[in-house]
Amino acid sequence: MVLVLVILLPFLLAVLVSFARMRASTVGTISALAMLTLFIISLLQLSSVTVLGASSLNIPWIPEIGLTLSIYVDGLALLFVLLITGIGVAVMFYAGQYFEDGRTAARFLALLLAFTGSMLALVLAGNVLTLFIAWEATSIISFLLIGFYGGDSAARRGASQALVITGGGGLALLVGLLLMGSAGGSLQIADLLANGDVLRAHPWYTAMVILILIGCFSKSAQFPLHFWLPGAMSAPTPASAFLHSATMVKAGIYLLARLSPALGDTLLWTTVLPVFGIITLLMGAVLALRQRDLKAILAYSTISQLGAFVALIGLPNGEGLKAAFVGILAHGLYKCALFLIAGAIDHATGTRDILLLGGLRRSMPGFALVTLFAGLSMAGVPPLFGFVAKELLIEAAEIDPLALIIVVLSAAFTVTVALRLFWDVFVRPGAPHDGVELHLHKLPRLMVIGPALLAVTSVVTGIGVGPLITPLIEPALGKPTSLYLFPPGGINLAFVLSMTALAVGIAVFLTRGWWLAWRLPTLTSGTQIYAGIIRAVEGLGDLLLTSQGGKIRYYLTAILTAVVLLLTIAIVRILPFEIQAIELKNASDVLKAVLLGLALVSTGASILFERHLLAALSLGVAGYAIGGIFLLEPAPDVALVQFLVETLATVLIILILARTSPEERQQAISKLWGQTRWGLMRDLTIATALGCAMTIFALAAVNSRPTPNSIAGWHLENALPQVGVNDVVAAIVTDFRGTDTLIEITVFGIASLGVLTLLARPKPGKVTRFRLRLRHPVRSMQIEPSGETEPDLPMIYRSRFADPVTQLAALLVLPFSFVIALAHIAYAGVAPGDGFTAGAIIGLGITLWFVVFGYQETKARLRWLHPTSLIGAGISVALINAALPLVFGREFLAFTQVADIYVADIKIASTLLFEVGICLTVFGGVSTIMEAISHPQEAEPL
């Protein structure tokens, strides 16, 4: 459907514009032309909608939650589309003239175009969820536009205030819409409109309506959620003109009008809407009188008019809808024009203070003329469009005398404001303030075209309101209607009243010297309440923050205590259970028990030893004992890995000990070992509690362990047939649970890269790239003796261990380690040892080199070693190997025998490739870690 294009085109253009490198005026003109195209397209849709009625387009997205991308086009939607695109033409063209810098203009227009797209999506939405998404999108883009000049703190405050209010209202709206969807049985707007009776009779009706009203009131700046709109005036004027007078604030009005067939005509609706609307109408009109900032005047008068629309929509039987629609059009036209002119004045003179301005008709005659017509439309003077709107408003208000009085009074004040805008700015001689003359900046000549276009439209649509506007309003109302400039039956009450309002307004204007000087008591404004609430919330946050002690141990204690509590609750449920007796059946079991005891004692010793080196070594002993247990299990593959990794871990911690300052370690040992008794008790308690909980958990797990007919049996039976290896563990690692292994080596690679990043960052200030340094280590490694380097660091890069015996050992070990690794990979499937052990063995060889020769010399002599590339190569090989079966039409990681090749009794199969990949990754990872630790350069201390 062509309207999908209408919605998508602004977004597309926004992306293109954001990369534009053109002059501001060019960007503006292009955007304006795009808007014009959309306007014409939508206009052409009008006839089909008039004849065929509403139509919709549905694309299912997430059917389970009822989210469908749907467009619902009827008269109301088209009315708004035409309003948005039509006013968009003028605003975008003006924006091109307003900004001087092309980049700023491009950024602004991209946002404005994105906003237009969101707004169009909102009014054309056929599903309440897509409507809500578009609603929130407009809020966010409005935030970005208000805070466009990010350096200005007032702009930032205004932007966040607007976002909080409209966003909070949006949340209420979401709940309300979901309630409505649930009550009405569908999230599609077409269905909901048809189910009006069901909704009105539903018990959730009140909640639904109140929530939706909160959302609409926040968006359309109704009392009491109106105060964000004057604060939003920090936006660049084209944004204020477009968003905050013509389109975004009317989103709430649109939604109310859209939902009024479904939710309207109940006591709640016809009471709340008119009441709040009337209050807003009067309040806005009154507050607009005494403002000094031009944009604030316009903002308050916008609030006032929006109140009128809300009140009109709330009238029973849809009586006020005609007045509302006409009013929306008229208001959009004149208000936008006035905003654009305010922007031009600001641009030209540098101020928007109405008390300082004056006499501009000589220097800005075109603008003066445009202001005249826009002001006449605002005041409701025939034959302009605003007059028609005002007549309709007064006619609709005739049902209630109080409402009528308020409407007439507000109309009068609006007249005053309009007169002030024209007279005080353009005609009255300027009042030089403190002797400072207004500096007049030359404006681009085409700047006046935007507002002029809107003003001319006000005039033309006023004179030709019958033929021009009726075809727009009729499809929106759904019934034939007539619009006229002068009532056919002659002068009626509405005409009399509007003339009265005009007269009163002029009178108030003429006496403005008197009431402008009144000193009124300042009441608490909404903004102050809002700021107070924000301060209270921040204060609460600060209060909670004082509970943070900052010490890691306290956090750990809190977490572990919670874990103990949760485990206790879980354990209490499973008690009591059976515990198997401890029996040592044969010699192997006895040996296992002995080794277990050794492991536990060593671990205990590592706790009790004060010196770090001894603790590390005893931990190593424990690890080897555990390796022995694995050997006795019997689990030779695991035992191998355990021995190798334990060696690596012990080497690792000893090297790290070398990297930390000995004074700090000494201090740690001496001061920290003697803990306070209370602290010790606390730690012991938590440890004991968790240990007991863990024991019970483990005993319970043992109790419910799988029977021999478990998946383990399946693995044993299927290793040879399916994978072709004798070693079941290797089969599981490389094939049955191959994805586990793939992810594991990736994690290992990432961890080692993390260590590299932490420990081996180049010194700040040196621009040499890290990779280059590694390729030419001897030449470019300049270790300047600075005051900050610790004196014991030289041990690392001028190794103390480099005497001939150790050097010979290192030289011999490395090639042998390669041979052993190759053997492990080749015979991975038939004997203990696999890719892990191969990689770890070579890694150990490299570690020996780093320890014996030191970083510089190792890098110099082992030119072929690029650890980080090895990690990448390894993971790539593993991934390619995993993806290879896809080529043969099988699944990812399925076993493939590449060919029935036997090379020296070794099968070339996917397991072999996987083992190679694992070896490379582990090798690369270990080398990276060791290289990082032995690297002489480290992060600078702060």
């Binding site: 141990r553 030779p636 690596l648 024991t695 383990a712 563990v729 201390p941």
Partner: protein
């Protein structure tokens, strides 16, 4: 035997937690490693078989005697490698922070203090 392993799990876990709560950062890291190791015991404990020989099948897909559970072995293998990677990263962090804050006392590193 499995009960013994289960008890050992709990004991080692408790020791690991105790170490984790030390003020000395290096000891704390060692406690972290002890925790990882204790879980390997848990895996051993819940193995399905009391194995006599290693899980290798011969050419006829037979085993001469009861093999040990291969699945837990594969899991332990993965766990060991991952624990080493985490250990290395943790020690790297401690090395860097000891240089940055000039202390190995975790109580002195309290930048999160409110």
């Amino acid at each position: 035997m499995n009960t013994l392993f289960a008890l050992a799990t709990g004991l080692m876990f408790g020791m690991g937690i105790f170490q984790l709560l030390r003020r000395d950062l290096i000891k704390s890291a060692m406690g972290f490693y002890i925790l990882f190791t204790s879980i390997n015991f848990l895996f051993l404990a819940v193995g399905a078989y009391d194995g006599v020989i290693a899980p290798y099948v011969d050419a006829n897909n037979q085993t001469s005697s009861q093999p040990s559970d291969p699945l837990v072995q594969a899991l332990i293998l993965t766990a060991i490698v991952i624990s080493f990677g985490s250990y290395a990263l943790l020690l790297g962090l401690i090395a860097v922070s000891s240089r940055r804050f000039r202390t190995l006392d975790s109580d002195r590193i309290d930048q999160l203090k409110g």
